[in-house]
Symmetry: C2
DNA sequence: CCACGCATGTAATAGGTTACATGATTTA
DNA sequence: TAAATCATGTAACCTATTACATGCGTGG
């Protein structure tokens, strides 16, 4: 289960389930999503397994917090995972299926609309990633002075930005092709 | 459940569970994966729901085949799905997490190796998609003479090719950055 | 006093993987 | 005769989503 390792990776600093949920919402969500209802049982399981330890502490406001810390065993498992080679191949892209099977509608205008909506989503995503990416580039002494964490984060962001930007351009190219086809259709009626 | 709709989309021609599994392995797997053990119960569920009908027929070789056909109700549901707008946002990329948390190893050489492996995977994927993409471009009369199915398939392939190609280039850029950092490390010891 | 943010969880359901079970026909 | 391909499925388990349940403290 990858979520276990993602949580382990986030826990280079002690944190509560609630803290981790916020981290997911800050930026992690661009490559992984998780709900509190999945995070809490996973943290408990990880503790039972001895990969994490926890202590409760008072909160500045609100109820008691349960703060988790990665154990030596947990660190070892994380390191094994990251060294085990890229975990690829199970990605699922429902919207590509939608685009393909949309051919059966025989309604090119629906395809145009679909791509327009897709374009908007991609533009937003690209925008967000670009802004974080640029923020790292503006750290004084970039890139040599970056710490390992910032450097690796930058690498991940670079892949993310380039990928979504390319997808956005491809989406625009598709829209142009659809547009051309729609015009041809109109002129042949 | 998107698999239900993917199967519905594939069933513009009658087919058996086994046929559909082959289709997944031919190319569908580049945007969606499914095992027979998931396909069979899903087809049964779809039939119970009245979205598919089935009849058994003798096989050229091997046991009897159960061939599914999409019903009018099933078509209606498929069309509703494709018209409901891009289904995005739940994609999970474990390898991005691996790359990010790899910073905690403090072993840039491991990062280099990781990216090298990632590069190989991406190159293979890009190669495959490019070959199918090119095959569509070489259909006589491209693009105007393409049927709707081929045209939409081409759009999907275009997005796929451009995305993986960009990711491949980004991966190479990352490798160069790591290389530079490794050299700097060596010269500072 | 009510809404919001902090904080923890459980239960029911849905979606997906791996392993197991069975048996026919063809080709080497 | 052994392996590969055709063909259908079940069972156990793991992963993830949605809905529900609870309660404190602060600011408007």
């Amino acid at each position: 289960m990858s979520l276990e390792y993602i949580l382990l990776g986030m826990l280079d600093q002690p944190a509560s389930g609630y803290d981790l949920k916020n981290e997911f919402e800050q930026g992690t969500r661009y490559f992984w999503a998780a709900e509190l209802s999945q995070i809490y049982p996973t943290l408990n399981r990880l503790e039972e397994r001895g990969w994490l330890s926890s202590r409760t502490e008072a909160s500045a406001r609100g109820p008691e917090r349960r703060v988790y810390k990665r154990t030596a065993k947990g660190e070892k498992e994380l390191f094994q995972w990251v060294r085990s080679g890229p975990a690829m191949g199970t990605e699922r892209f429902a919207y590509i299926g939608q685009l393909i099977y949309m051919s059966q509608l025989n309604d090119l205008d629906a395809t145009r609309e679909f791509l327009t909506r897709l374009r908007a989503d991609l533009a937003e995503r690209t925008q967000f990633l670009k802004s974080v990416h640029k923020a790292v580039e503006e750290i004084p002494g970039f890139p040599d002075a970056l710490g390992e964490a910032d450097f690796h984060n930058y690498l991940a962001l670079h892949i993310g930005v380039e990928t979504t930007a390319a997808r956005l351009r491809a989406c625009d190219a598709c829209l142009r092709m659809v547009q051309r086809r729609l015009q041809r259709e109109a002129s042949h009626v």
